[in-house]
Structures are given as structure tokens and as C-alpha cells.
Amino acid sequence: MRRRTGLFLLIALLLAATVLAVLVGETPLRAADYLTALAHPGSAPGEILWTIRAPRAAMAALVGGALGLSGAALQGLLRNPLADPGVLGVSASAGLGAGVAIALGLAAIPGAIELSALAGALVAGALVVALAARFREPETLILLGVSISAFAGALSSLVYNLSPSPVTTAEVLSWMLGSVANRDWPDLVTTAIPAAIGALLVAWSARGLTMLTLGEETAALSGLPMARLRAAAVGGAALLAGASVAAAGIIGFVGLAAPHLVRRFAGDDPGKTLLPSALAGAGLLVLADLAARVIPTEQELKLGVVTALFGAPLFALVAWRAARSWRS
């Protein structure tokens, strides 16, 4: 029952945050404007609500949900509370894909950066799935992921180094800081498709993640098709991470912190933290993006900056309180 109450609260939080994100913004609106927007979506207030704020809030929810789910799946798979969507090198590879597109001057073509980032994520994801089939120990997988991450980072540096335009680095850096500003509904669909496939794969692997609690050898003889379940978990987590980086750049802490936040009521079972983590990630990122929009700064704050600024102290607090439960 505790779990059901927790899920209900998370859904309520996500809905409330999304409604707030649509209602509140830089352009002050009066009560009458909201009524106009509801009655006539084509009116000026309607444009602000339905084509600027709503898709932006929905994108924040989608990206946050993907990061939370990806983080929960990877923490379960690797039996490591420090795992996050970046641990397998997929995020860094997506960043490399984006960097290449920007360096080649493709930034003007709509969707080119996103597609290139997704391609980078898919290449790294495929590599990680293949490695996960060969090496089963979590420690080995983490080390290989760190290597992929470092190598993708090195290649990105090489791209900036060799790029003739000095603007490239600034552009890539700005992209990497993360943002869901100026997104429209078609962007949302482009992100939702790979994210949905990833989510289905992860959901299917849930039983396997729970079984891995007992270690690789017990799981291998448990009667579950572990080879396929592991591939689904790794591939799904990679797709989710890749889709989110392609859509919004690199956003830290949400994927790491969401599973920790929900374990307090959902319990430790990796299969049962998946849905709550996705909801928590979505709610957190909608709130973070709202904060990025309304905090009055000269230049709008980047989403990745906000999540790191608020996320790091929050995560330290959560980790401190949770430390007791994973000390064995």
C-alpha cells in the first residue's frame, strides 16, 4: 500500500508540475488570458501556452522520465547505486555525435544535431550490448563503459581541436549544457519513439533485474532467459539515454538521483523501482526546467546547470540517508 501511495503522489507531483510549467512563465498572463487560451488555442495567449510552454514542459517530462528509467535499469543491472545513464559511455557518444554535426556545419539543418547524437548513442549502445553479452561481471562492464566514455570524450576534443571554426567549441558546449527550450510537438514525437522502444525493453527486463540481485551465477540458473533479459536492459537503457541526450543535451543527476529518491517507498527491488523512477525523473526535470525559466538571470539558465546545482546537494542528502541500506 505504501508503494501505491508513493506512485499516486509521484503522478500527482508530475501533473501539478506540468500544469504549473504551462501556467507560469516569463510573459505574465492575466486570468482572462488563460480563458482565452483555453477557448481559442490560436490566439496570442493560446500560442504562448500551447506551442511554447506545453511542448517544452512535455519534453522536460519525457527526457526526465527517460533518464530516471535508464538510471534505475542500470543501477539494477550493475547492482551499483552509483550507476547513471552516463556510465556505459552512451551519453558521451551522443555528445560526440552532436559535436561532429556541429563541426560539419550542419547545425542549420533542422534535426541534424539530434539525429547525429542519436546515431552516436546507437553505435555506443550496440557496442555495450555486445560487451555485456561477453562480460557479465558488473565491475568489468562499468570499466568498459568508462573507457567508451573517455574515448568518445577524446574524439570530441579532437573534433574541436581540428575544427577550423572557433565558434564550434562554444556551440557544442552550449548544446551540452542541456536545454528543452524551443521544442515543438514534432520534436517530441522524434524523441518519444526511441524512448518508448527503450522503455518497453527495460520493462520487459524487470524480472531479470530483480533476479540479478542474487548475482550472475544464481541468475544464470534461475530459469529466466537471462542472456536476452540482460541485452534488453542494456539496450533499453542505452536507447533511453541516447534519446534524452539527443533531445536535450547532457543533463546530470536526474538519472542518478531518481532511483534513490523512490527507494524510500518503493523498496530496493530493481524491478519495482523502474516505474517510480521514471515518474520521479519526469517530475524533477519539469520542475528544474520551470526553475530555469523563472529564475531571473541575464541569460536563461541552462537545464543541465540547474539540475547539477540543485541536484548535487539534494543527492548528497539522499545518499547520506540511504547509505545505511546499501552497506552490507
Partner: protein, 252 residues
């Protein structure tokens, strides 16, 4: 009659060093076999290679007459339940949920019912909701034993099930495995305590440097010669009113 587990001439090299050099064992339904030997003699390697968890360099391994590599992953669980030596549990699940993982073939409700029975058998009735990482090492070992029992497999393989347990829990563990054999399961355990091995097992397979040094009932497997050459002990198996006892001291 087909053996529940039939391992022949297993050779496994690890890090260039031969860990198994032609060891094997067979166990039939209703039989409890103890695998004993000094540290590094290949006990765990024999079990893992025989279960297909480790690559074999040569030799054959069969479960209920079928070559292990030919059995699809999900089908193996119907033939064997395995309790590894390593008792690390990744997350703090309730002991009932851990025990229920032994029966993923059942509906969640039925699996929990089986798990509840098995927890009661290992003496943990009333501990169903306790998180395994909040338990003592001995309690956790019993939860993992309950998970093994919940598999209801015709072959149960337990690697060092008595290690690190207090005397009462050691006897309980071996009595439960003995009861499984009495119900018709084939049971294989590795043990370091030679007295426990002699008391509970129908047959002992003595490993030395990756080979079988002796295979038979305790009286023929634990001879003074085997104790001396394999274990480096001066001593013998003595029959007492409460059962056999291995009395020995280090050979000088």
C-alpha cells in the same frame, strides 16, 4: 537409471594453471554426495564447470542424461537448483521476496506461498518481511538456503552451505538437504568439515589438485592414507555412538 548429474573427465584451465585435471562425479536421485578436499583442490570449479557456468577445456557434463550445453537456459532451472558459495545480495529485498526468486516458474502468489513454507523450514518463520541486508550473515545464509529449497529441483547443488554458520545452523542446513535427498532429490554439497561430511553424505568425492583421489562411502573414502596424502593430517575416522567422527592432527 540415468544419473541426475554426470560429470566425466572435466579439464578446466584458469589463468594458465590447470584447476581441474580430469575430475568427475555422478549423483543419482535420492543420493547425497559430499565433495571434499583442501582449499584450491577444485571443488567449486568442479561444480561451476559441471553446471555450465565455467568454460570446460574438455570432458562431458550431463543433467538427467542431457548434455548441459544442449539444454536451453530456462530449462536448466527445472533440472537443477544452485546455491553459490558467494552470499552477496545486491539489494535489500525482504527475505520472502528473496526466497520466492527460487520459483520464477510459478505465479507470484504461488511463489510466495512456496517461499513462506521454505522460510519456515529454515527456521525463519516470522522473518518474511525483514530486509536481507539488515540480517546477520547466518540469517541471510538461511534465506538463501530457503531460495534453493524453493526451486524444488530434482538436483540441488550447494557450495559450502555450512560455511560461517553456528553449529546448530550447520546441522539444520545439512538435515534439510538430507531431507531433500530422502524425498528423492539428488544432492551435492561441498564441505570443509570432514565429520559433517562423513555423517550426512551417502558418498564422498575427495578432490586433490583437480583430480579425484577417492570416491565412496565415508569409511572407504576417508582412510588414514587419504587423510595424510590429501589433507596432510594424521588421523582416522572413528565410529562413535552419535555417528562417525574424524579425529586428526596436522601431520608433522
Amino acid at each position: 537409471m540415468t544419473a541426475a548429474w554426470d560429470l566425466r573427465e572435466l579439464v578446466v584451465r584458469q589463468g594458465g594453471r590447470p584447476a581441474l585435471r580430469g575430475a568427475g562425479l555422478t549423483v543419482a536421485a535420492g543420493e547425497m554426495v559430499g565433495v571434499i578436499g583442501p582449499n584450491g583442490s577444485g571443488k567449486t570449479t568442479l561444480l561451476r564447470a559441471g553446471l555450465g557456468l565455467l568454460r570446460r577445456d574438455s570432458g562431458t557434463a550431463a543433467l538427467s542424461g542431457r548434455p548441459i550445453d544442449a539444454i536451453p537456459e530456462p530449462d536448466r532451472a527445472r533440472l537443477v537448483g544452485y546455491l553459490p558459495q558467494e552470499r552477496r545480495v545486491g539489494w535489500n529485498l525482504a527475505s520472502l521476496d528473496i526466497a520466492a526468486l527460487g520459483a520464477p516458474d510459478l505465479s507470484p502468489a504461488a511463489a510466495r506461498e512456496v517461499a513462506r513454507t521454505c522460510l519456515a523450514r529454515v527456521g525463519l518463520a516470522g522473518f518474511e518481511g525483514r530486509g536481507v541486508l539488515e540480517m546477520s550473515g547466518g540469517e541471510r545464509a538461511r534465506v538463501l538456503l530457503a531460495r534453493l529449497l524453493a526451486t524444488r529441483a530434482p538436483l540441488l547443488v550447494a557450495d559450502e552451505p555450512a560455511a560461517g554458520l553456528d553449529p546448530d545452523a550447520q546441522l539444520l542446513t545439512l538435515e534439510l538437504l538430507r531431507a531433500e535427498a530422502a524425498r528423492g532429490a539428488a544432492v551435492v554439497v561441498t564441505l570443509h568439515d570432514l565429520t559433517l561430511a562423513a555423517r550426512f553424505c551417502d558418498r564422498l568425492v575427495v578432490l586433490a589438485k583437480g583430480q579425484v583421489a577417492a570416491d565412496g562411502p565415508a569409511a572407504t573414502a576417508l582412510t588414514p592414507a587419504v587423510l595424510r596424502t590429501v589433507f596432510g593430517l594424521e588421523g582416522e575416522l572413528i565410529q562413535t555412538p552419535t555417528g562417525p567422527v574424524v579425529s586428526a592432527r596436522r601431520a608433522s
